[in-house]
Assembly symmetry: C2
Homo-oligomer: 481 residues x 2
């Protein structure tokens, strides 16, 4: 392990992160909401900490190797999640406990969007902006890690994407690859954000709200500047813009990049994961809209808009304004189960990722064929690519650990006193990075007990760390040599 | 497919099954409960049907091949489950609907033990006896299928046991093997049943009740002659006898057979699955007893007896008298989750089976080591045996299909109008063949709607058919050629 280099990377990361706090300072000064000191303090502490970590090791030079990648990835979320809470903690308008501030920060950065804050509509604009910005930076962090690092680490079958990242492939040297890839992806991410903000503005939001919501839409984050979230605007146009951009954000950003670079839609059309994903979106939307319309609870147009928006919002794990938990009959649970599918790989969507579900399905079908023809050699193919057994095994491992982690955290939440519905949906909504749950956590997470909030912080991180990044760190073999 | 031979087997099976109805007739005559006509009709219809199926094809001779095994296994449960309902339907003391009669019959035969009948204490002895006997025959059916057929079919990794069945191995010819194996296992099964009945008698039951409860204990079935089940006797001795025999019944019966034949405990001691299984039993019992004692809800001795009995009853999926759903805090859910582990392979226990969970765990650990050493070749070993990757893949397939089946049936139950707790626990208690659930199905299944009961019948069969036996039948490839 190159601890000195890891410390240097972490120090730089913290200093870079501290610079992002300068934007809310400008927002505060612009709106004159008397909150700039909050962010100035946040900036000072974060920058100072980063400097203190970086200074002693700034001369360390070594290429990071695969194994360092686990630690860097895990630290990325843990450290930024913690420091991101500082402005929320320092703000005198919010009055959050440490638990709540860290919960909100991790929820923002992991793009979960589970909030402990109510009364958003009356908060200072700079605080509102900061929450949205957390999600936006979290979103690009997720994409870069997913495209540049996870395929190298081989977590949960993501080695399948090893050859597909933009930028040069230099066996297991991480640093140059990450820089190149990050630039390409960031540009793509920025273009979509601008497009989304403009669309929101045209549909009737003011620029501040348009930008804020574009941030959390492209991140599939789900934070909003209103308690009623996107539904606050009572505008079908805004709901449909949000739906389209949630879907874009739940698509593999490497695909977006290639489509843009080669000026050809071929990459979208030929992608087996995207095809699989959109098929389920269509099926899910049809079932939801049909059931809502049939249940007479909503008019047909309301059924169409609410059904489409809520299904997409839940399956992409954006979790915007989801009143899905008040839907009739099996719909809340169906939408919730689809959140476990989540988005495509290398997107800002959460869940287990469509490619993994596709591979599980294909392996299930192969298993049936193998039972019928025990001696046949049957390959699992995704598009034209034959998937190595090694990748499929990783996906199974991922799936099993996901289920075990879910069950374990569920039991702990029940032990803290939550009821079945709340515990069940809270773990699910956090490990999938969906956000809104059911029962006591349908609207917000403010009222549940502190130990439960810490468990849920862990769940959000576990989801974003693809379970294994974290499990590896608990293995003694990892720390040897 | 050898349809004629399959029909012959089925006909013989039905005629043999009809003969078992002669026992309740004797019971009815002995107790003079005026119910023998019920069973006489049941016998006549079942025997007649068997004869009608058998007669046209009785000359068909061909060795059954692997592929026929799927159909025979599935038909075994479906057909016996249906015909087993006849005496319950004909009985004038019960007044059951067709749905309820079939539910009770399938629940008995699959050793689930979910009942729709209340007021057991006042039922005619012959009916009570018949329910217990259904479980007993179901139990030996499960064991024979698990030892002699599933390893051949290779379902869910059970090919691991291909070489271990008692009796001669003649590649994929099923018939001679099944006959030999069935005899050996039946003897073992009978010996334990007699031992259990004698123990119950000594502890204070009368012979009728001792035999009835021995039937459902060795089958890990959970049916009883009292609404309060084993707790009716208020006897720690009976609870502990039940606990011991549930554990024996949840152990691989091939192990029991080998221990008996070789007069050596070596097979128990060396078995990795049993070691793994008993470790979890000990851990689970300790946690349950400690929490009950600590919660002050029970005295220490009550905590010990109730905790031990209920944990073992739930994890083995016997489901006797489980008042686990009234336990405090996370205990009901913890016990419930352990039912998904279930018993050992080739036992009468349900769930996913300890060996599969052990393999999932070992593969999870291997996955972590592979992440750290990507180029290392690491074998998964159970005891001294290196498990082929093919077996592990089958286990993953099994696990994923189990989860998907659970989620699907859960949604359907919610759609029929059940609440979360009831739907969740009912599917779980039926697919694991545990029996008692929570919420509306904590005490019995009589009050839920009919469509839900049919879904749960399917769940019980799916559990006993190890999911894939049924899925294979839905594949077009299975029916080709
Ligand atoms: K979200
Ligand atoms: K049972």
């Amino acid at each position: 392990m190159h601890f000195a280099v890891i410390a240097r990377v972490l120090g730089v990361l913290l200093m870079m992160f501290s610079l992002t706090l300068l934007v809310p300072i400008s927002v505060s000064l612009w709106f004159n909401d008397h909150n700039y000191m909050t962010f100035l303090w946040g900036f000072a502490v974060t920058f100072g900490s980063g400097l203190a970590i970086w200074a002693p090791v700034y001369k360390s030079r070594a290429d990071l190797r695969t194994r360092d990648g686990f630690l860097v990835t895990a630290l990325f979320w843990f450290v930024l999640g913690t420091f991101g809470s500082l402005p929320l903690l320092f703000s005198n308008g919010l009055d959050l406990s440490i638990t709540d501030a860290i919960f909100e920060s991790i929820s923002g950065l992991t793009t979960t969007g589970a909030t402990v804050i109510t009364g958003l509509d009356t908060l200072p604009p700079s605080i509102l902006f900061y929450r949205q910005q957390l999600q936006w930076f979290g979103g690009i962090g997720i994409i870069v890690i997913a495209v540049a690092i996870l395929p190298m680490l081989g977590i949960g079958g993501m080695q399948l994407y090893r050859a597909e990242a933009p930028g040069p492939v230099k066996d297991n040297k991480l640093t140059p690859r990450i820089t190149e890839t990050a630039k390409a992806l960031f540009t793509t991410y920025l273009v979509f954000t601008v497009a989304c903000a403009v669309a929101y503005k045209v549909a009737g939001m003011n620029w501040f709200e348009a930008i804020c919501h574009a941030f959390s839409t492209i991140a599939n984050g789900g934070f909003s500047t209103h308690d009623a979230s996107i539904l606050h605007y009572q505008s079908p146009a805004i709901m449909m813009i949000c739906t389209v951009f949630m879907l874009i954000a739940a698509t593999n950003f490497a695909l977006h990049f290639f489509v843009w670079r080669e000026k050809s839609l071929r990459h979208y059309i030929e992608d087996a994961e995207l095809k699989f994903y959109l098929s389920w979106i269509v099926i899910g939307v049809l079932v939801t809209v049909a059931y809502l319309a049939g249940s007479q609870a909503y008019s047909f147009s309301d059924s169409f808009y609410l059904g489409t928006f809520n299904f997409v919002s839940t399956m992409t794990t954006a979790g915007f304004a989801s009143n899905y938990s008040s839907f009739p009959s099996f719909l809340p649970y169906m939408l919730f189960i689809f959140a476990f599918v989540g988005g495509c790989a290398s997107s800002t969507g959460g869940g287990m990722k469509a490619i993994r579900v596709l591979l599980l399905y294909k392996q299930g079908v192969r298993e049936i064929h193998r039972l019928i023809h025990p001696n046949a050699i049957i390959a699992v193919k995704v598009g034209k690519i034959t998937v190595p057994d090694r990748v499929i095994e990783s996906v199974w491992g991922f799936f099993a650990m996901y289920v075990v982690a879910f069950a374990g955290m569920f039991l702990v939440l029940i032990a803290t006193g939550l009821d079945l519905r709340t515990a069940f949906s809270a773990v699910g909504a956090c490990i999938t990075n969906l956000g809104p749950g059911m029962g006591e956590v349908a609207a917000h997470y403010g009222d549940i007990n502190s130990p439960a909030k810490w468990v849920l912080c862990f769940a959000m991180l576990l989801g974003r760390l693809e379970v294994f990044t974290l499990l590896v760190l608990f293995s003694s073999a990892f720390w040897k040599r």
